[in-house]
Amino acid sequence: MFCYQCEQTYRSDEGAGCAGAKGMCGKDAATADLQDILLYVCEGVGQYLHRARQLGATDIEADRFILFAFFTTLTNVNFNAAKFVELIHQASQIRDRAKALYENAARAAAKIPQTVLGPAAFVPASNMAGLSAQASEAAVRKDAAILGEDAVGARALILYGLKGVCAYAHHARVLGEERDAIYATVEHALDMLAREERDVATLLDEALALGRANFLAMEALDAANTGAFGSPTPTSVRVTPIKGKAILVSGHDLKDLHAILEATKDKGVNVYTHGEMLPAHSYPKLKAYPHLAGNYGGAWQDQQKEFAEFPGPIVMTSNCLIEPQPRYRGRIFTAGPVGWAGVRHIADENFAVVAQAAQALPGFTEDAPEKTITIGFGRDTVLGVADKVIDAVKSGAIRHFFLVGGCDGAAPGRNYYSDFADEAPEDTVILTLGCGKYRFNKHDFGTIGGLPRLLDMGQCNDAYSALVVATKLAEAFGVGVNELPLSLIVSWFEQKAAAVLLTLLALGVRNVRIGPTLPAFLTPALVDVLVEKFGVQPLGDAKSDIAASLARAA
């Protein structure tokens, strides 16, 4: 195996990358190799779909499959080797279909179909042992010697950005929002990866195109979530347990949460959110369920301890799953793209068994003292008080906005983000999203002009909301986003964050601070490009970064 797609990748003096028997995330070598092969076969699907599309022929089921397949390979999503063998065989059948689609379209247009090589011509072995032997053909860095390190890094940026786009687009799709332009870009990117493209400038352009497609994906997801469940409104959420039977729902998929709330209606079971599911409490149609009782625990990296202590079933609806411990392995369920060998998986959105499990498990035996936090500052809420915000900025009551958001992780150095939020001066507002907020969302930041100083905009999936707010404020002030008194302090962990970064760059947002470390797949030359062209900045120390942000804005 070789994988360096996430922030926690193994780093040593010789370089970075998880290459042993297991990655830092717990993904074993067999699974990592199978994931590479799956994506490689998907590139082959993309080669045909891309060509067919140019001839006016499309296969939306194949596009949907690609979204799902890519989503399964994000960090902390699916660790089940057997599932990947199944997906590889599915992908190979879909590729046959895409090939026929392309060839028929070519013939219909009186053209001779090209013979497509590379991933399109790769024949996956029928069993696990055979597939393992093929892994080197599909490895991320397989052509490093020919392509050069910078091209390999830029290709990795595309591959991992693409994973993020696919994850967002899949989330939107399950709620019925799809955009053909996203599929076209995904196919284009797959075709580019399948070619031995080595021109770094061309590759970076492709990465920015993905960033634009990701903006569409995030917009679609926002439309999907708000369309299905209403616009988030400020909501006070209980963060301590209540006596009674209990279910814990983690991940990002609001549709699954909704299905669980339906399956447990009037059954005397309390449903708690975990991690990135917290923002669900602010959606009108979800919070209308009285048994959506509260939020339990913190960010994903604490789950082994928190899940062990939770006295009911746990459902992982998407990332971020880490190895289920024996103490709760029997009562954790996965859904959608998530998986772990030997853990029950719900493939049909029927959560009746989870309701049954909740009844059979002890639940909380007593109430904990009540504590709450306030969430739900999505774009509508913030823009709803835009006048107040603009006045406060004009009068000097609000000096600056910091968006401190993104993924959390277990790596050292992540206290930077809580230090940053805590040190931000009283006359600044902190916007946040993603699970990184668990580092400080229970702190008291007080208010400014009737607004809370900490505004929780939702999941990492809600980055769109933050971009809309920034754009609208810029319009109101008659300036560009880069001229706003706004600084972005982004923490990345996995590939959705890579996609969001590409979106920010594609939209021309400058001076984004990212950390806690820079992605290992970016070579020094690529980092230089990001720094020069986009003003991307690695983290310093919180105090001086705050000072620098304020100075720049002044």
Binding site: D28, A30, A81, A82, V85, E86, N127, M128, A129, Q325, P326, R327, R329, G330, R331, A341, G342, R344, H345, A347, V353, Q356, A357, Q359, A360, L361, P362, G363, T365
Partner: protein, 341 residues
């Protein structure tokens, strides 16, 4: 006080202190480390580990739990060993098998008892609701429980044959021994409605879920129970990997649970070989032991399977030998010995 460090199969180090008067199992438990064990008196072998360095004193034990060869190779039984110096041990199980809480003890009601072929019975129990554990039957497919008779007079361990479930149901197949205390109870006194104490789940004979290899089960008699549990679990997970079952008995009328096997065959890519050693009637299945059937199948297999074997010690030894001679690595053979009780 001596320092003990135990290295698990997956590379974790577990450390605890041991008083010279404690067994190593008790010493670990004093530190809230619950290591795999069952009989706690040197009879079952569940607590066997390898000694890398340091001295122990071994109290009496049964050779079924620790053979002379194993002892010569440095293996010890945690329930029968006392430290005589600092110790470094190597465990044949993963860190995940080490508990941080004592094995649960719960009450269950006998809800069904019926014959299962000649010489065995099928027992179904229902867990009572419990403030700590609820009413669910949570275990890993392949594990066993220890049952205590209603009057407390005897305890025996039996494998569960069903998959873990939220109804709180336990299903067991028990061979009736001519003079066993538990068998006498089942034959003469057991009645629906009786309450039994259940200590469990216990045991490490469970599926290696992460392995993508085909799964083959080689079982004799009521050794079928854990295989049924695992196969039912595989069915519940809709896992489509190829499975084979070699189920052996001495005489045709000893076969049981054939309806369950039929159901599994309909739901899974499962090939079943029923093996009868001495068929006295018209028998069209395999004649011979499941090990002989395994040898035949391995010789034409295209992929190396993981092998799960459960039954009497001789069956396990023969399976291990056959499988290894056909190129199945030692660590791909998982076993659970059944000893007569």
């Amino acid at each position: 006080m001596y320092k003990v460090s135990l290295l698990t199969r997956d590379g974790a180090t577990i450390a605890f202190d041991a008083e010279p008067s404690d067994t190593l199992l008790d010493a670990a438990e004093r530190a809230s480390i619950y290591l795999p064990s069952s009989c706690r008196e040197g009879g079952c072998g569940a607590c066997r580990v390898a000694r890398a360095s340091g001295e122990v004193e071994l109290m009496s034990y049964s050779s079924a739990a620790l053979s002379e060869d194993e002892r010569m190779a440095g293996d010890i039984l945690l329930c029968r060993a006392r430290a005589r110096g600092d110790l470094a041990l190597r465990a044949p199980f993963d860190e995940a098998a080490v508990g941080s809480a004592p094995v649960p003890e719960r009450r269950a009601t006998l809800v069904a008892l019926e014959p299962a072929g000649s010489g065995a019975v099928r027992l179904q129990l229902q867990y009572e609701d419990d403030p700590t554990f609820g009413s669910a039957a949570q275990f890993a497919a392949g594990q066993f429980v220890e049952l205590t008779l209603p009057d407390g007079s005897a305890k025996r361990s039996y494998s569960l044959a069903n998959a873990p479930n939220w109804d709180g149901t336990l299903e067991l197949f028990i061979r009736l021994q001519p003079h066993g205390a538990f068998s006498n109870y089942l034959r003469d006194r057991a009645a629906v409605g009786d309450t039994l104490l259940v200590r469990g789940p216990q045991g490490q004979f469970t599926l290696d879920e992460a392995s993508p290899a085909p799964r083959w089960f080689v079982v004799g008699g009521t050794g079928l129970a854990p295989a049924l549990s695992m196969l039912r679990q595989i069915g519940e997970f809709a896992d489509q990997r190829p499975c084979r079952l070699f189920f052996g008995v001495n005489k045709v009328d000893e076969l049981f649970a054939l309806d369950v096997i039929d159901e599994l065959q309909a739901a899974l890519p499962l090939v079943v070989t029923l093996c009868v050693w001495k068929p006295e009637q018209d028998w069209r299945g395999f004649v011979g032991t499941p090990v002989a059937a395994l040898a035949q199948a391995l010789s034409s297999a295209t992929e190396r399977p993981d092998i799960y074997v459960c039954g009497p010690p001789a069956l396990i030894a023969a399976t291990e030998e056959t499988a290894r001679s056909c190129g199945v690595p030692h660590d791909r053979i998982f076993s659970e010995k059944f000893t007569a009780a």
